[in-house]
Amino acid sequence: MSDHDHRDHNEPESGPALRVKAIESLLVEKGLVDPAALDAIVDHYENKVGPRIGARVVARAWIDPRFRRRLLADAVAAIAELGIPSGPEGEHLMVVENTPEVHNLIVCTLCSCYPWPVLGLPPTWYKSFAYRSRAVSDPRGVLREFGVELDPGVEIRVWDSSAELRYMVLPLRPAGTEKLSEGELAGLVTRDAMIGTAVVKYPPDTAARAAERD
C-alpha cells in the first residue's frame, strides 16, 4: 500500500494539517508509528466499519428471536456469531432494546464514546456540545429536533457512556415489514435509529414497491 493514499492532497495546509504532519514525521522517525499501519487504520474506519454493520445486527435480531435474546444478554458474543469482529470502543458492548413502552437514547456527555465496531465513528452532531449537553436533561427536546415525537407515555432511558460500556439501540421493527428479507430490513435501519435519535420507518413507497413485487 502506498503512503497516505487516503489523504486529500489538494486541501490547504491549515494549522492543524501542518501540526499533524509534523507529529507523524516525528513519531515515524522515532520508530513509534508506521505510516502503513496508519493507512490501514484509516482504511478500516473509513471503509470497513460503519452503521451497515449495526443494521445487519438489528435485522437479524428482528427476524431471529433467539438471536435477539442472545444479543441483549451478551452483545459481543452475539455479534461474533455474525462474523463481526469486536475492537476498540466495542469490547464491552450493550444493546438496549426499544419497546412500545421504552425508548432508549445514547450519549456521552464527557467526551464522545460510541460503539465503533458496530456503528463506525460517530457523526459530528453526536460529538457536538449541543447534543452532549442536552441529551441527558432534555431528551424529548432533542428528539423533537430530530423530528421524533414520542407518545408522552413512552418512558425514555438515556444511556450516558461514562465508563467502558458502549451502547447500541435495537430499534422497534416497523409495522408492515413482515415479508421483507433480512437484507431489506437492514436497509431500513439508519445510524440515528441505533443511537436513538430516530425511529425506523417503513416508507409507504417502499411498502408499495414491496407489495407490487409480491
Binding site: E13, V20, V33, A40, L110, F129, A130, P152, I156, R157
Partner: protein, 251 residues
C-alpha cells in the same frame, strides 16, 4: 475535574448541528490524527484515561473553539511532551519543516515499524478478571458522591449527590481517576446506575425519564449508610478513599 468537558445539563449551545451525507473525516489531517492516536494507544505510550485527561486540560476557551480532532491534536501534543517523547522544540521544528513543503513521511528512516491489525488497536482496557469483592448488588440504593477533585474523573457533575439504583454489576475495571494521573491500576467494580430524571433535574422535570450512568464503586455510597451518617453528628469520615483528592500533586 469540574471542567468544560463536563457538559451534561448545560444550556446555551444552540441547535444540534446535523450534516447530510457526512463523511467519516472532514480533512486529511483528521484521518492521520485519528490513526496516529490509535497506533499510539497500541504502543502504550500513554493510556486512554491520560488522553481524556489531557483533552480535559485544554483551556476552556480553546476547548470550545476547537473541533473534535483539534482537541485530539492538542491533547496529543501535550502528552508527547509530558511523556518525554518529543519536546516542544522538536514539534516546532518538525512543523516548520512540514510548512517548508517537507515530506509527509518520516524525517529520516524509521527505526522500527509496528504493524498491528487495525481492529486490534485501541484503548486496550479489558474487563479485569481478578476477583474483587463488590460492595453493591443490583437493586441497591446508592448516592453518587459529591466529589470535586481537580483530577480526571468519570463521575459527571450532574449526578453528584443524586440518588440512584444499581441496575447491573459490569464487573471489575481499572479506575480512571488514578489511571489518568500516572497510570496506577486500581481495580474496582463498575455498575450501571439508574437515576430518575426528576432526581437529577428537579421536581419540575417531567416524569417518565431516567439516565443510566456507568459508575465505579468509589463514586458511590450506600443511600442507607448516608442516611445513618447524616443523622449522626458532624464530622463524618477520617480515612480518604482512592478518588477525590482535591488538589493535584505538584509535578
Amino acid at each position: 475535574m469540574n471542567g468544560i468537558h463536563d457538559m451534561g445539563g448545560m444550556h446555551g449551545f444552540g441547535p444540534i448541528p446535523r450534516e447530510a451525507n457526512e463523511p467519516v473525516f472532514h480533512a486529511g489531517w483528521e484521518r492521520r490524527m485519528f490513526a496516529i492516536a490509535l497506533a499510539t494507544f497500541a504502543r502504550r505510550i500513554f493510556n486512554v484515561d491520560e488522553f481524556r485527561r489531557a483533552i480535559e486540560q485544554i483551556p476552556p476557551a480553546d476547548y470550545l473553539r476547537s473541533s473534535y480532532y483539534e482537541r485530539w491534536m492538542r491533547a496529543f501534543i501535550a502528552l508527547l511532551q509530558e511523556k518525554n517523547i518529543a519536546s516542544a522544540e522538536e514539534i516546532e521544528s518538525a512543523s516548520r519543516q512540514a510548512l517548508g513543503g517537507g515530506a509527509a513521511g518520516p524525517l529520516s528512516a524509521p527505526r522500527t515499524t509496528a504493524a498491528t491489525p487495525p481492529a486490534a488497536i485501541g484503548a486496550a482496557r479489558p474487563r479485569a478478571h481478578r476477583r474483587v469483592p463488590a460492595r453493591f448488588k443490583p437493586g441497591d440504593r446508592v448516592i453518587a458522591r459529591n466529589l470535586n477533585s481537580e483530577h480526571h474523573t468519570r463521575l459527571p457533575r450532574y449526578a453528584r449527590g443524586r440518588r440512584g439504583v444499581i441496575r447491573r454489576d459490569w464487573g471489575v475495571f481499572i479506575l480512571p481517576d488514578s489511571h489518568a494521573h500516572g497510570g496506577a491500576i486500581d481495580l474496582c467494580h463498575c455498575y450501571s446506575v439508574e437515576f430518575d430524571s426528576r432526581e437529577l433535574w428537579g421536581d419540575e422535570h417531567p416524569a417518565g425519564e431516567s439516565v443510566l450512568l456507568d459508575l465505579w464503586e468509589p463514586y458511590l455510597e450506600s443511600a442507607a449508610a448516608k442516611r445513618g451518617a447524616a443523622s449522626a453528628s458532624g464530622k463524618r469520615r477520617t480515612t480518604k478513599p482512592a478518588v477525590g483528592r482535591r488538589r493535584l500533586a505538584k509535578p
